[in-house]
């Protein structure tokens, strides 16, 4: 355990130092990251105002609150491992990783967490500006606030494990970008990034509840906004836990199978 902590400390240092070398890239990435919820926010606020101040129970101020929290939750849970694996397999740099006496997922976790910490001040700054401009309405519910952090943590872990497992598609195909594209479009709709899930038709809501999408993004957002009953909150965390176990099992299985393929056809 002490050794693993040492590895993480060193990995954080390297990740931090590497990422700080690319300040311009970080700023550009940050702009993209903010633009997406901002567009939805502007569109839905306009729709809400033009249809008499409310759409499906969301006023303009509710939409503002929703997309603001969505931006923060998305920042806390998103990953980019799907891009790195495609690159690593194609460039052959994965061989280095495989020869280390350490599971490669650790350095990916450290990398992702460092990038979040580095860009967090930027995201918070933008959030503060949006608060002033869009005047969101928050209805704080104390128990929901307390449940939010564990739910957010679970959301991050599940999303990380699922996307890490999907990234391993790189072992079987050199066209991982196509897989990524399908995943991202699905995530856009099913995780509540285009619109709150309650505004979407039933089949979409059903799909998002069966798949991990709702539990990795929309659920913590709704919890924070006080839009869930205690039963819904507990059900959600149970779903998150189920996905946690399932994704861990899947990850182990797919990783083993993938490495087998990799070491059979040429590392």
């Amino acid at each position: 355990m002490k050794e693993l902590r040492d590895i993480y400390v060193q990995q954080f240092k390297t990740s931090f130092a590497s990422m700080l070398q690319y300040r311009a890239a970080l700023v550009i990435w940050l702009i993209g990251h903010i633009l997406e919820p901002l567009i939805s926010l502007v569109v839905w606020s306009a729709v809400s105002r033009s249809s008499g101040g409310s759409v499906g129970g969301f006023s303009a101020a509710d939409f503002a609150a929703y997309f603001l929290v969505l931006m923060l939750v998305n920042h806390a849970t998103y990953t980019w491992v799907m891009f790195t694996y495609e690159y690593q397999v194609r460039q052959g740099t994965l061989s280095s990783v495989l020869l280390r006496p350490l599971h490669p997922i650790h350095s990916d976790i450290a990398d992702n967490v460092s990038s979040k910490l580095i860009t967090l001040p930027g995201v918070l700054f933008v959030a503060a500006i949006l608060m002033v401009v869009f005047r969101p309405a928050f209805h704080f519910v104390p128990w929901a606030m307390a449940a939010f952090l564990p739910a957010l943590f679970l959301a991050f872990i599940v999303r990380f494990l699922v996307e890490w497992t999907l990234a391993l598609a790189a072992f079987w195909t050199t066209r991982v970008s196509a897989v990524n594209q399908v995943y991202f479009v699905a995530a856009l709709f099913l995780s509540g990034q285009i619109a709150p899930l309650s505004l979407l038709p039933f089949p979409v809501r059903l799909a998002s509840a069966i798949l991990p999408f709702r539990w990795t993004v929309a659920f913590p957002v709704e919890l924070f906004l006080g839009r869930l009953t205690p039963v819904q909150a507990l059900t959600g965390m149970a779903a998150q836990s189920a996905w946690l176990i399932l994704s861990l099992v899947l990850l182990r299985f797919v990783w083993r199978a993938g490495v087998k393929v990799y070491s059979a056809v040429g590392a």
């Binding site: 060193q10 240092k13 052959g92 040429g266």
Partner: protein, 327 residues
């Protein structure tokens, strides 16, 4: 001396299945439905042992199967058939205890993080390999000293020259003092001075740590300086395994005689094949059995200032070995 070998290979084979396709649109369309698969035997039934502490040159033309063998030995590739053990481990299982005792240095294998100083990558490897702090400091000092790394460690890796980066790559690969070292072209693309430094460093590493080293190189100077024993493979099969000196003896039918004369007036063709003659310095190629007789005649017939008899360059010998068909 331990009796069990550090590396043991028996009948090792690796077959790759590749899809084949002819050029052209018709073939492209056909390949959508039906793909022709072809098996390529990259390594085809090779066997050898390496004793602990041995430094062995692993030679063969491009595509002979050297890198495939090194990848099987280090655990990156799963063998198709045959037996293989490194320090008693099955490499492809990549157990942590095994990985902590080996290293693979390849040209395209980068352990150093590109954007940060090498010293930071060293620290990361210290943590990953769980190297005790005192050992780590001693090893870094030693490596920095032997490879003259001190001025390099603080610079971002991307600002280093190719040779400087290679030295740091070798150092970071050896921080955990592996007992078995696989090197794939460690001196490729480096200038002569740097090649020599890396060579003497590897010899020193072997001497100090008693490590087993298997290295491939296209520079015969590397092999001559480091390896008493060489293993030659071609098209995946073993061509030769034995002393380098014996290889040179059995595969060089010629010797080179260099004579220093006053000028190039004399007709030397009667003595052997004249390779060159410049400023009275003539190079002759003669059959090995004839060497003594020709030397005698040269000294008796001509005003010889100096005379040396040399083996042909190792490159030439190896070329002759490669020209043999695998048995």
């Amino acid at each position: 001396m331990e009796s069990s070998p550090a590396i043991r290979i028996r009948n090792l084979s690796k077959t790759f299945v590749v899809t084949k396709r002819e050029a052209g649109l018709r073939a492209a369309l056909r390949s959508l439905v039906h793909r022709r698969r072809e098996e390529i035997r990259a390594v085809d039934g090779i066997s050898f042992d390496l004793a602990p502490g041995e430094v062995v040159g692993f030679l063969g033309p491009n595509g002979a199967g050297k890198t495939t063998t090194l990848k099987m030995l280090s655990g990156l590739l799963h063998p198709t058939s045959g037996e293989l053990a490194v320090l008693g481990y099955l490499p492809w299982k990549r157990e942590k205890a095994f990985l902590r005792q080996i290293t693979l240095v390849m040209g395209q294998r980068n352990q150093l993080v590109w954007d940060i100083p090498a010293a930071d990558s060293f620290e990361l490897n210290r943590a990953i390999y769980r190297i005790p702090a005192a050992d780590y400091r001693r090893t870094v000092d030693e490596l920095a000293d032997l490879l003259e790394l001190k001025p390099l460690l603080g610079k971002p890796v991307r600002n280093l020259s190719l040779g400087e980066r290679m030295k740091c790559e070798i150092a970071v690969s050896l921080l955990h003092r592996p007992q078995v070292v696989f090197l794939d072209e460690p001196t490729i693309g480096l200038d002569v001075t740097m090649q020599r430094r890396i060579r003497s460093f590897l010899a020193e590493y072997n001497r100090r740590n008693g490590a087993t080293i298997l290295l491939t190189s296209h520079y015969m100077a590397d092999v001559e300086a480091l390896c008493r024993r060489v293993i030659v493979i071609h098209r995946g099969r073993l061509l030769y395994d034995g002393q380098l000196s014996a290889l040179v003896r059995s595969f060089s039918a010629h010797k080179t005689i260099v004579v220093q004369l006053g000028d190039c007036q004399a007709d030397l063709r009667a003595y052997g094949e004249v390779v060159s003659c410049e400023d009275g310095r003539a190079t002759l190629r003669v059959a090995k059995a004839e060497t003594a007789r020709v030397t005698e005649r040269l000294l008796a017939d001509l005003p010889v200032i100096d005379l040396t008899v040399e083996d042909p360059p190792l490159e030439e010998v190896i070329e002759r070995v490669f020209a043999q068909e695998p048995k």
